[in-house]
């Protein structure tokens, strides 16, 4: 897999290159926007790591150029810690995920892998998360080798969790997807969650409750 790294700080760039190469990726790294733009135009990358605070032009511009060309290469933007606006704008412009500086390499690797998995999963017409696989077309779920036979509601629930695997999904969103937007008792969702949990016991995935927020599909060994 080829990754494009656009980062102006030489130390961070070097470290990124080394750690990502160690994972088996082939890395093209640039410290300024102009050559990076040319490289991106040529295409052929599976992921782009883009630092928004580049010296010779906003990284945002590269991102918007990319998306205007209908180039759907996954982009992971690197933002300053307090750059909420940058982050929001970047995501609006079409970035797939963000990473706030300073970041730990572990986190960076995890996100890169998640993004690749997602895009791969899409191209495969299926989404994978740990042992779970979901086919995007048929709505078929497999846990390891076993096919899960799910009633419609549970299917909707698992789908919404899988689409944001590893991230919190708010309660309202799940309820909307599972029950439609009518009135529903607070316990209704709990029931389906516990049913789904039962199916997943003993596997490497779990559904974690986040109080007052929603639910998250996690890998059980994820720290």
């Amino acid at each position: 897999m080829r990754l494009l790294v656009v980062e102006d700080d030489p130390l961070i760039s070097r470290t990124l290159q080394r750690s990502l190469s160690a994972l088996g990726f082939s890395i093209d790294a640039y410290e300024t926007l102009a050559p990076a733009r040319d490289a991106a135009r040529q295409g052929g990358f599976d992921l782009i790591l883009l630092d928004l605070g580049l010296p010779d032009g906003q990284g945002m511009d590269l991102l918007s150029e990319l998306r205007q060309r209908n180039d759907l290469t996954p982009v992971l933007i690197i933002t300053a810690r307090d750059g909420v606006d940058d982050r929001v704008r970047g995501l609006d412009l079409g970035a797939d995920d963000y990473l706030a500086k300073p970041f730990s390499l572990v986190e960076m690797e995890a996100r890169v892998r998640a993004l690749l998995r997602r895009s791969q999963g899409r191209s495969d017409n299926s989404i994978r998360f740990g042992p779970l696989t979901m086919s995007t077309s048929g709505g078929m779920f497999t846990l390891g080798d076993t096919t899960l036979d799910l009633p419609p509601r549970e299917r909707g629930l698992l789908e919404s969790l899988m689409l944001h695997a590893g991230k919190v999904v708010s309660r309202e969103v799940i309820e909307g997807k599972v029950f439609g937007y009518g009135e529903v008792g607070s316990n209704a969702l709990e029931v389906y969650i516990s049913r789904l949990r039962k199916r997943l016991t003993g596997s490497e995935v779990q559904i974690r409750t986040l109080r007052g927020l929603g639910y998250r599909l996690e890998l059980t060994d994820a720290g």
């Binding site: 307090d82 300073p102 730990s104 919190v168 708010s170 986040l210 007052g212 927020l213």
Partner: protein, 464 residues
């Protein structure tokens, strides 16, 4: 600041206008006075002439006779050689003496029978002034009355009035010129204190916080005092910044020194385990220092920036949920049970800066995550006040809490309440406090009865 006009021109304009108005009024008064004086002077002549004439009335056989005295006519004519008129009428209405056919209105004749009459009339195209009086004589058997009329043309008095007016006007103009000159000079002198102040301020160094020197008039006292207060505040602000910078650089130097030591040690050793250890230490320090630097920058910006100008109305509930949702996916939060209490169903509207409130909540959550052990519960919530119309943002944990004695100082920069076992910078709560102040919100930190720390921030609500 818009510059418009000069103070001196305004003063000058106003003063000169006033002077002209006063001058105009004086001129009107001078005109009136001139008229009156001239009138009086010449009327006196009429009176004298009438007197001279009435004294020449003789009584023979109880009939009045007048030997017109030349002197009376000379007085009547005055120095200005007016044309003269006289008429004497007895109490039967018969004319005793007359020199011109001036038509006297009967009403006036009746008036003259009672008292003094003064009358202006136009005769043969010329203005005349007439005066009449009844004079009595004591006869042996009865009293006789003779109406004496005198009059003359008014050329003399008109000329006198004009001369008086011109003289008065000339004098006033000279005085006016003089006054204008004095105004010019006085203005120059009077505005000198302002000029002096201007020079002083111009020469002042930007860092100078000392009071202004020199004598100033009373009216400028307020201005000067305010300026001095401003300078003093600026000085204090700068001192605070210097102190903070000193503290900050000290705080930065410590971990960096640690990094240096670890690296030195690693370079002098050839044991990979020790290198590993050293690198691990360096990594930890680097992380801390990086975090500290970020926090310092935030705090500096918040404390020394200008007052918030872009405050909008926002929904605190939405914002809180946003921030918590973000943090819950954080690596740091993986081991903790970060959650939210049930939020109010209606929107909670406050005035504030979005980025600052996010920063504040973020710091609170980060603090809670760092200073509580893994598995602790951290809960955020919004509570509407029953009375007072405010809303309380709260974050509670079931961790170890803080030593009560250190609670007060918790918001001081670099204060860590004795906890060196975590990777906090000590600036988190300082930042939180600053942001709360910016939003006129009250911060309260306390230990929970059940154990753990509770931080409450009270905002005033606005109508959506």
């Amino acid at each position: 600041m818009i510059i418009h006009g000069k103070l001196r021109d305004r003063l000058l304009g106003w003063l000169l206008s006033m002077m002209f108005i006063v001058g105009g009024l004086l001129m009107i008064d001078a005109w009136a006075t001139s008229q009156r004086s001239a009138q009086r002077a010449f009327d006196n002549q009429l009176e004298d002439a009438l007197l001279a004439m009435s004294e020449a009335i003789q009584w023979q056989d109880d009939k009045p006779r007048i030997m017109m005295p030349p002197a009376a006519l000379k007085i009547l004519s005055t120095r200005h050689q007016e044309r003269v008129f006289y008429r004497l009428i007895d109490d039967q209405g018969r004319v005793l003496a007359n020199n011109l056919d001036m038509p006297l209105p009967p009403g006036l004749q009746r008036e003259a029978a009672e008292g003094d009459v003064w009358h202006d009339m136009r005769y043969q195209g010329v203005d005349w002034r007439l005066h009449a009086r009844s004079v009595r004589s004591a006869g042996w058997e009865r009293q006789f009355r003779v109406q004496v009329w005198v009059g003359h043309t008014t050329e003399g008095r008109e000329q006198l009035a004009r001369e008086l007016m011109i003289r008065a006007t000339g004098r006033m103009l000279v005085m006016g010129l003089f006054a204008a000159m004095m105004i010019f000079i006085t203005l120059r002198l009077a505005l000198t204190p302002l000029k002096r102040l201007r020079h002083q301020l111009r020469r002042r160094q930007p860092q100078d916080a000392s009071p202004l020197s020199g004598t100033m008039p009373e009216e400028m006292r307020e201005l000067v005092e305010t300026l001095e207060q401003l300078f003093a505040r600026q000085g204090e602000s700068r001192d605070a910044l210097l102190r903070f910078t000193a503290d900050a650089s000290h705080q930065l130097r410590t971990p960096l020194a640690g990094v240096q030591n670890a690296a030195e040690f690693a370079l002098s050793s050839d044991s990979p385990t020790q290198w590993h250890q050293a690198l691990s230490d360096i990594h930890a320090s680097a992380e801390r220092t990086s975090r500290l630097a970020g926090q310092l920058l935030n705090l500096t910006r918040l404390r020394h920036l200008a007052l918030p100008t872009e405050q909008d109305a926002l929904d605190l509930a939405d914002l809180l949920r946003d921030v918590v949702m973000e943090w819950v996916d954080h690596d740091l939060a993986r081991q903790h049970d970060l959650g939210m209490a049930e939020l109010p169903s209606q929107p909670v509207c406050v005035i504030g800066e979005s980025w600052a409130l996010r920063e504040m909540i973020g710091n609170l959550i980060e603090n809670a995550l760092r200073y509580t052990p893994a598995g602790s519960e951290i809960t955020l919530g919004l509570g509407l006040e029953a009375e007072g119309g405010g809303v309380v943002l709260s974050i509670e944990d079931n961790g170890p809490g803080v030593d009560p004695q250190m609670l007060e100082r918790l918001c001081q920069p670099f204060e860590r309440a004795g906890r060196q076992d975590t990777d906090g910078s000590g600036l988190g709560l300082a930042i939180v406090e600053t942001i709360a102040l910016r939003h006129q919100a009250e911060l309260q930190i306390s230990n929970r009865d059940a154990g753990g720390l509770c931080v409450r921030i009270r905002f005033a609500r606005r109508q959506p």
